[in-house]
Amino acid sequence: MLKLEAVSTFYGNIQALKKISLDVNEGEIVVLIGANGAGKTTTLLSISGLIRHAEGSIKILGQDISKMQPEEIVGLGCVHVPEGRRTFPNLTVEENLKIGASVLIRNGTHMSEIKQDVEKTLERFPNLMARRKKKAWSLSGGEQQMLAIGRGMMARPKLMMLDEPSLGLAPILVQEVFHIINEIRQQGTTVLLVEQNARAALNLADRAYVLETGEIVHAGAAKEILHDKQLIDAYLGG
């Protein structure tokens, strides 16, 4: 589904990713963990094309995306739910969801079908249903996160990348977010998840990569890492 080989990414002179390799197979949930500034967001930005990687190759469904624009990469079925929610503040909940389907509309999907998808998504998120005509800026943090995830689902992704979806949420909402991610996988979407909330993420995921200052320092089955006390202490702060 997704394959990174020796990918390096720079911000000016600063090398944020140092030849990282990772792959995500169809149907998996793979989690990318690591401390602040490790390069997790940079990895996702390199995959979705918002930042150009300098070296190495990134392939989505076998296609090299090095020369593709972000909107073309979405077209391959790879959707990135960015860090910090980033809902469109002055659009309503419904409009935000419709915008999530931009790539389908560009490829000729009929608006009536998109409207059905909007209804399905709203049914999945009752809080959003109640606020469907409200502007996104008026939503709570949790509602905005649900909207960001729902908006990502609107593109009917084959691969969904989520950047710290549980950040800043109350514990009960964190659970809800992880529950939704599991549902997304059950619907057949592959998931690449970035999380600081390592334990919860490892419980959910099949495999994990540990990133430290731009390098992958560990890779393996999620359960294995979860029970590796040394690793947990060293990289995940207990």
Partner: protein, 292 residues
């Protein structure tokens, strides 16, 4: 006294509608690229001159001249976007703004070289016979301006608020990176914004030409007024640009008629100072506050 006030009010609304069209172009481009386009006034001038050329020099009928003038200016706006904005899009806003100032000067001089320094006239669309309504005398061109402005603003409202394209343009204005992640062609949306804004400017030039004439250096004065209008209305706000334009046009025309016509142009800036003191964010300012 009453009919004079009414008459001045209508004249003010008409010139205000022109400020609103120019200001709207500035506001839309600002929302899309976070930079003020100081060359917007030159698109008014070129729009007017293009139409005059199609009409007087080439001899096309009035309506066709207007359409060709607007289309030619839109093409110019598109080229401007490609040559000035696209290469600078990763630079800071101030770089882009200074570049638009440079283009503004270059275009002013180009228009003088092409069309000369003398003011040129474009025919009034409904002729020049003043229409009498009771003891009110209305210049037909003012009615043309008001009706055209109304149609434009309604069309724009539908385009921007009721269509998927408009929704995508709003998304781009609010957050370009996330818009790209949604699969929106961000650069195409920005190009459409420039096309539309230069078309608006051209229409403003063609509509105002029969009243004030068109001359090569008129752009900077118009941009100043339009800029005042957008600040009074609330910078970056679409309804703000429209209402701010009408407000500035009406107040300066009334003050010019009743107080001093010599200082008519100064009134716009007096309004600006008063509004900035009383309500610094302008009439519709909140929207821009939460985007800052």
């Amino acid at each position: 006294m009453f009919s004079m006030a009414t008459q001045l009010f209508i004249n003010g609304l008409a010139i205000g509608a022109i400020y609103a069209m120019v200001g709207l172009g500035i506001a839309l481009i600002f929302r899309a690229v976070q930079a003020v386009n100081f060359a917007q006034g030159e698109f008014v001038v070129f729009g007017g001159f293009f139409a005059i050329t199609f009409f007087s020099t080439i001899g096309l009928p009035v309506w066709l001249s207007i359409i060709c003038g607007v289309l030619a200016t839109m093409i110019m706006g598109y080229i401007f976007q490609r040559l000035v904005y696209v290469p600078l899009q990763r630079s800071t806003s101030i770089t882009i703004v200074v570049a638009t100032m440079g283009v503004s000067i270059a275009l002013t001089d180009s228009s003088r070289i092409i069309w000369g320094a003398a003011p040129r006239l474009f025919p009034e669309i409904l002729g020049s016979t003043v229409i009498a309504i009771g003891d009110l005398y209305v210049v037909p061109q003012n009615l043309v301006i008001l009706v055209a402005a109304l149609i434009l603003f309604i069309t724009q409202y539908i385009l921007f608020e009721r269509t998927f394209l408009g929704m995508q343009m709003q998304a781009v204005a609010q957050d370009k990176e996330t818009a790209a992640l949604m699969g929106i062609k961000v650069n195409r949306m920005i190009a459409i914004t420039f096309l539309y804004s230069s078309g608006l400017a051209a229409i403003a030039g063609i509509l105002v030409a029969p009243i004030t004439y068109i001359w090569s250096t008129m752009g900077s004065g118009l941009v100043q007024k339009a800029f005042v209008a957008t600040i009074v209305g609330g910078f970056g706000s679409v309804p703000g640009a429209i209402l701010g334009g009408l407000f500035v046009g009406v107040v300066e025309t009334l003050c010019g008629g009743f107080i001093s016509s010599t200082y008519q142009d100064a009134f716009a800036f007096i309004i600006l100072i008063i509004v900035l003191i009383v309500r610094p964010m302008g009439f519709f300012g909140e929207e821009t506050m939460d985007k800052a």
